[in-house]
Amino acid sequence: MVRALVLVLGLASILGLSVSAQGATPSREYQVKAVFLFNFAQFVEWPPAAFSEENAPLAICVLGDDPFGSYLDDVVRGEQVNSRRLTVQRFRSPDDIKGCQVLFVSKSQNRNLEKALAAVKGMDALTVSDADDFAERGGMIQLETQNGKIRLRINVGAAKSASLTISSKLLRSAEIVASRGD
């Protein structure tokens, strides 16, 4: 009984099945994912049209429930990518989304994922999510947990249609997938 409990707790901690409230420290998994979000900014090139102005900050947006808490803000604070500051924005509904270069779609948006993707189309935003089959469903980068490791699944076609250039280095360490039905 005790043993089973320890195992469950262990698993919970590893998989980061967090039930923590917003603002609290996220699980280890989401810490890593937060860093990944920041890192994507360095391996992806946006067309100039993606920014409202030349020196506009690069915005990392979270749609839906924020699993990172303030951790993501900590990660990007003070950092610059290609002379652009980094900001973090949070949206509850896909309709609200605007001015995003990286959009993390929370699992909470699993059901209206298509709606969210449609909302950012034409915005040249890099869409990232840890939702199942995100890449196949038209998302660009899916964060998938395998054996306790986070692996990337990238839909290159989706990225291309958004005029984004993903570094070959990033592609090499990822699994390339295509949209379902393509």
């Binding site: 890593v32 990944f36 890192n39 360095q42 391996f43 950092e79 610059q80 990518v81 290609n82 002379s83 490791k149 986070i150 692996r151 990337l152 570094s167 280095k169 990033l170 090499r172 360490s173 990822a174």
Partner: protein
């Protein structure tokens, strides 16, 4: 073999090879040194480049925590065998991936060191930052390169240098064997010629000249030297032949006595003088001395062993007994040759047979004695005869004069004339006898020669001739006259006769007689010059003979003994007398008196 004894040919090749070897060695050494100095820098450079490539490829792996991908990137280093270890550390300094997999985790540093490469002895290792974009540090790359590669490379260089060296030496050997001939060939030619000369004594060979450089000059000088030697050799040969000819003709032999080795060498001419067949022999001194006559043996041995006279020359004579028993007189003359320390080393000289000469000498001496005796007898006879003749003559003369005085008036004119002829003849005979007596007295009553002032003698002569000089108004002059060894009385007679003749045989002009003397090496030559009637050359000999007169008694008085007496006196003093004259040009009588008294004086 020491280098100095090695033939020049090989010496030259050695020098050329040594020089090129050193040059190649220095060149290789320089390259090797440069390689050694720059190799580390270049290795670090290439390691850094490699590291940057690896780091750039690992950024995504580090950024997205993909360990497998990182390992795969690192495993690309398999293509670089010199990379023995590599590792990636994440941005927190934790070991993220490593290469090779077989290497233990503990072999890597737990946390990365500071950036940059360093030499940690076995490896050349270092840390490089893994950066994405603008200074976005994602982690650190560790690379360790084996230095074995460096050593392998250097070993390769060493082998290469050795190979280059070997090839250079082979090429140098080939070239030097081609080149050395230019120098060694003329030298070898000269040295072979020198060998031929010394081995065969053939001075006619010549070295071949190959160029006009110093070796050519050497060859020329050598050949010129041979020319001279050849000439000298010929000269020596000829002079040797001449010497042999002279020795043969004069029957003189040569001998050499080696006192140190106690042996004597007799040449082909000396050997026959001891009664042996011709041919050179070297005999033991003790054997040689046995040949000497027993009476002379001890003396000769003493003389020869003593090294001859102290003065360095040796002269002696002794008798030898020939094998047949004949006794021969030998005369030797030699020279003492002293070696180091002035010890007598050996004596050398000539030897000749004097047996015949000695016999001739004895015969000559006997003849001379006989001659002297008969001469003396003759002179004595003349003296005695003329002396003893005077007495009966005086009787004839006095009684005829008595007859003339007492019976002159009783006799007729014819008888008186006859008596007059008799008286005249007797007195003439008286004078002749006196002259003869005087002539014989030159040698029988002569006085010893003494220092005589000829000037003083001439003064006496002037005094004796005062009357004649006064009558003729003659002038007697002279140069300064010397002092000579002479019999003063006879010298006076001599001068008085010559000066008197000068006055007597005058030709009407005032007679001038001049006496002078000229010094020669061994004698004085006197001359008495007059301006008289002179003498024809055909009478030059005759006038010195006894009782020879060229003129009538009435024309010039005299018995004709004067010049015979003069000749006798001059010859007694060891000189000679002669004249130069021509009719009406006057006469000059010359006579000589030796500076040293000669054997003629008795």
């Amino acid at each position: 073999m020491p280098l100095r004894n090695v033939p020049i040919k090989r010496k030259l090749m050695f020098m050329l090879m040594f020089t090129s070897g050193v040059v190649v060695l220095l060149t290789c050494g320089a390259f090797f040194g440069y390689e050694l100095l720059t190799f580390k820098d270049r290795t670090v450079q290439s390691l850094a480049t490699l590291g940057e490539v690896i780091a750039a490829n690992s950024t995504a792996s580090l950024a997205f925590d993909n360990e497998d991908d990182a390992s795969e990137v690192l495993s690309a280093l398999r293509a670089r065998p010199q990379i023995v270890a590599a590792a990636l550390y994440d941005r927190n300094g934790k070991l993220f991936a490593r290469y090779p997999k077989s290497r233990s985790k503990n072999a890597y540093a737990a946390t990365p060191g500071s950036d940059g490469f360093r030499d940690d002895g076995a490896y050349l290792a270092g840390y490089l930052p893994v950066v994405q974009g603008d200074n976005m540090r994602l982690g650190t790359l560790y690379l360790a390169s084996s230095k074995q590669a460096t050593y392998d490379r250097l070993t390769q260089y060493a082998w290469l240098a050795a190979a280059v060296m070997l090839v250079s030496l082979v090429v140098a050997y080939l070239l030097s064997s081609l080149v050395q001939g230019h120098i060694s060939r003329p030298l070898l030619a000269v040295s072979q010629t020198a060998k031929a000369v010394s081995a065969r004594g053939d001075y006619s060979v010549r070295a071949t000249k190959t160029g006009d450089d110093e070796l050519g000059i050497l060859t020329d000088a050598f050949n010129h030297m041979l020319d001279q030697i050849e000439t000298q050799d010929r000269t020596i040969r000829e002079s040797h032949e001449r010497l042999n000819l002279a020795l043969r003709a004069s029957r003189v032999g040569t001998w050499t006595l080696d006192l140190a080795r106690n042996c004597i060498t007799l040449d082909e001419f000396a050997n026959p003088l001891f009664g042996f067949p011709a041919g050179e022999i070297t005999a033991d001194f003790d054997q040689f001395i046995e040949l000497v006559h027993p009476d002379d043996r001890a003396r000769v041995e003493r003389e020869l062993r003593g090294g001859g006279a102290a003065g360095g020359s040796y002269e002696s004579s002794f008798r030898v007994i020939w094998p047949g028993g004949a006794v021969r007189d030998l005369s030797v003359r030699g020279k003492v040759i002293r070696g180091a320390g002035s010890a007598v080393a050996h004596m050398t000289g000539i030897i000749e047979d004097t047996t015949e000469r000695k016999l001739a000498e004895v015969r000559l001496k006997r003849l001379l004695l006989e001659l002297e005796r008969s001469n003396k007898e003759l002179e004595l006879f003349a003296y005695v005869a003329s002396h003893d003749l005077q007495e009966p003559l005086r009787m004839v003369s006095s009684y005829t004069q008595l007859l003339e005085r007492r019976y002159s008036d009783k006799l007729d004119q014819d008888a008186r004339d006859f008596i007059g002829y008799a008286v005249d003849g007797a007195s003439r005979m008286q004078r002749l006898i006196n002259d003869l007596l005087e002539l014989s007295r030159v040698s029988t009553r002569g006085k010893p020669l003494e220092r005589t002032d000829v000037g003083e003698i001439l003064n006496d002569v002037r005094a004796n001739l005062t009357v004649a000089i006064g009558e003729a108004g003659a002038l007697i002059t002279s140069d300064p006259l010397p002092i000579v060894p002479a019999d003063p009385g006879q010298l006076g007679q001599l001068l008085q006769n010559l000066v008197g003749n000068g006055i007597k045989f005058r030709n009407g002009a005032r007679p001038i007689v001049h006496v002078s003397a000229v010094e020669a090496e061994h004698h004085w030559e006197f001359s008495v010059r007059d301006n008289g009637i002179g003498i024809e050359q055909q009478y030059f000999e005759r006038i010195f003979l006894l009782f020879q007169r060229l003129h009538d008694k009435g024309e010039y008085s005299g018995t004709g003994i004067g010049l015979a007496l003069c000749k006798r006196i001059v010859e007694r003093h060891g000189g000679r007398i002669w004249l130069e004259s021509s009719p009406d040009k006057g006469s000059t009588f010359f006579f000589t008196i030796p500076k040293l008294a000669s054997t003629g004086a008795t």
